[in-house]
Symmetry: D2
Subunit: 289 residues, 4 copies
């Protein structure tokens, strides 16, 4: 018999998450508008109408106040407590960025899994994020990516994917990275690498600078070196990597790209969440063979 | 002694063309606003103020009426006759798409070169055009290019570059092409190829269809096979390759992308024009060593 | 009803050609040893035993003396006349490099097709040829291709494929090419280009120089500039592109790589011949749908 | 003032290691033949003639018996004790695979660094190793890498580099890998991934199988599925990943590729050792700015 899963709330992506999960589960969705949900998913209006389920999927972040689930496409408020009452005791709750909802979730006594910190999810999300960054570059730059000089700060998952894409498109890519081993990796794929100590000397020679490090690395001395024509793109999560105040004072072209996977490719981002959830459930024996 | 060159009119690109040419010539620009032209280029208001020059560069298309040069950024009308009188008899005129200006240009008795039909220009322009197409896909598609199924019609310069880019970005690229030799080429670079006869069967399985053939290839029977979610992008010059009326009637998502190089990457497109002009002059002995 | 085809003689490749053709034709092979021919192909000893056929495939070159077909794996001599008598009058003969066999073939009155000059064959053969060149580099060089400086002379089919492969493997590839349009193409795929006039200056800075031009381009002044550590690889057909005498006198490391597709990848090379033959027959209406 | 470094023994690579290190250090080499060592390195015959040095570089493995350093190109035995006496007390010894030499090295009281377990070295060595594997495939396979079906076992450093290279050369690459996150990585770069549980089903469909896992993964049931034409290449260190006895009994084409970096690209492998040593010394403050 198929397991039962509830998708409760979330942004545009979660409609596609529900669609993908419905290939393997009896799927219920709550907190969405009608057009977001395909026919084979059961769209429910209020928690009371939901059946008891094996798995409850909550969005990331789960909740702003710890009381209601984030559900921007829902007409009604979605009570977290009401949802928790619909999960079987031997069931499982998946969510990301628990925040104020943490206590109530943990107190429910039901197995809890954080998919936001999952490495597979982060890795796969680097694809839509990097493509979103490419889109912004194409929109903002008056020259082609081919032949342009790009500086990427940091070689984590996003720096890795972005340097791969831009190199493939014909840009001259340099990556600033602290770690010697990662610098060897960068060079192996045809890009150049520099330590962060060379940043100040290098920053003046780029068409784009793209930050992926969630620490203030683009400080005043570096900003002063950057040309007014250079586009500065910040992909790092809060608080970002740019000294924004100084950037504005100096009249630099800086753009902060937030929530890229969800905005630029909600279908793919939704499928990635579904795929990660599926693997997490498989590892925990919650998927029928 | 340096040769003298005049850049007269044209869109945003031609400001950058002037900038690049000024590295090798004494350069005069006419028909532009001040901000478009760097200091080392002499910006002139009326043809009378121009010196006699060795080379006159006209835009493409040269003129709509055969009397005035196309100069969208000019305050004044730019008389073609007035400009011609400023070229030395042993000089040279370069332009593209002569149209109604053809007769007056040919009657001037000055050597005339058409840079629009130049193969180097067309080839290099494929880069900004293909990047522009990628930008439109990133903007219009709710999924990533990575993993998407793309069908490209035609393997000329643009089809070639576009399939290269999309393949590098991780798309599954299939190219429809009539010529057996080109089909071998397509496969050599990791894409799949089909003859146009298989178009009808294949059209229903794509996330994007991108046409580069300037002939109506996406006809009613093919349009009927295409899903409503599929993006149809037409990169072909007039009259394009889609049966637009039927596409609209059937509610298909079709977009016509015109003048891409100039719109999406004017700096690069301007430099490409300059580079082509430079090579043309070099071949004709008009460049000082 | 299936058409009948005879494969007569040729090197190792032609056994695989016969194997591939047997998927679509009733296939007879003559001039081979037993182990070269799979069961579903009919191996025949003497021309007399052959049935009348629709298509006769001869090797390239067809014959050294105009009397016997080149058949290095045959115990018996293979008379060209005997073979011609086995082709139906409305049939077809395919061969490459006719040489002394030209007259007798043309006088047979049977339709004659030269597959050696076929563009598809040449294009597809660039793949095994370029891989053979890569193999020789890997064998002869004490350093990796990754990070090495490679100079390729000529950007025809082989220069194109080889530069693509070496660039993908992480070499710094420069291509010397006369044609401005091809130079633009070279740059579009991430390699550098130089005109032949810069050869003398550039030759001293390479780990490998790979010639694809069938004209003596590596002359004494250039040889003098090349380091003794540099590997010179000549892929051009006779007379090759190196001044061999001078190279030897100066003690340079030059290697002439001949007949690469047949030597290094006979299976692939044989399939390519079969595929080309199949397309040629298709174009001429000799293949049953 | 420049630091003093001694390179003592080792295979062909260490001559190039000495050459590279001599760009930054006053360099002494012992245990080599004359032709291996460039002029700017001081080649010494016996330990007694060596000056006191800051750094002593020993090969990997350091010694077979714990008494003499491995020095296959040396005429004389090279006493480990004698060498140790030439290192300043505040100096440093670098070596790999200490084995029987471990005790004497640790008892010397001099700082000891193992560069064999260094991640940068392993990562960079993946390049010559993967190229060596490509060379063996080109030599052993009768078909091109382009278009061939390759199965790689394991996605560590070597599996990663090899799949990248073969994919770039146009092979259809599938990687068997246990880890879900690595499987996501494999797919991101255009290859396919399977779990090891599918190995038995998949093994029959490949032109080459390339193992990188140092555990017996190619067992009898898998060997039985593999075609006699398929090449099996084992890149894993001892004891390798193939059931060799069964492979031989069943008449399979299996090749064990050992010590690839040193054999196929000694120059590059030697430079990689030098570069790693340089970074290790830099981290420990032993390099003068």
């Amino acid at each position: 018999m198929e397991k039962t899963i509830i998708i409760a709330g979330g942004d545009l992506r979660y409609g596609y998450t529900a669609e993908t999960l419905s290939e393997k589960f009896e799927t219920y969705a709550i907190g969405f508008s009608k057009q977001m949900i395909p026919e084979r998913v059961n769209l429910i209006e209020t928690p009371e109408e939901l059946p008891l389920c094996d798995v409850l999927v909550l969005p990331m972040p789960v909740s702003d106040d710890g009381i209601f689930v984030n559900a921007p496409f829902s007409k009604n408020h979605l009570s977290l407590k009401g949802l928790l009452s619909k999960v079987k005791p031997e069931g499982m709750i998946l969510g990301g960025k628990f925040g104020k909802a943490k206590e109530i979730l943990e107190n429910s006594g039901i197995a809890l899994v954080d998919y936001f910190t999952n490495e597979e999810l982060s890795l796969r999300n680097a694809i839509p994020t990097a493509e979103g960054a490419v889109q912004m570059m194409l929109e903002e730059m008056p020259c082609t990516i081919y032949g342009s000089k790009v500086l990427i700060l940091g070689f984590g998952r996003i720096g890795n994917r972005l340097s791969y894409l831009l190199h493939a498109m014909g840009a001259e890519v340099t990556v600033a990275e602290r770690d010697v081993v990662k610098r060897a990796q960068i060079e192996m794929f045809g890009c150049k690498s520099i330590p962060f100590t060379e940043l100040e000397n290098f920053a003046g020679k780029c068409d784009v600078i793209c930050n992926t490090v969630p620490v203030k690395v683009i400080t005043e001395p570096i900003l002063k070196r950057i040309s007014k024509e250079t586009l500065i793109l910040d992909l790092a999560s809060k608080p970002g990597g740019i000294d924004w105040e100084t950037a504005q004072e100096l009249g630099k072209r800086a753009v902060w790209a937030l929530s890229l996977p969800g905005k630029t490719a909600p279908v793919t981002a939704g499928k990635i969440i579904a795929q990660t959830i599926f693997h997490l459930l498989e590892e925990r024996g919650m998927v029928n063979a």
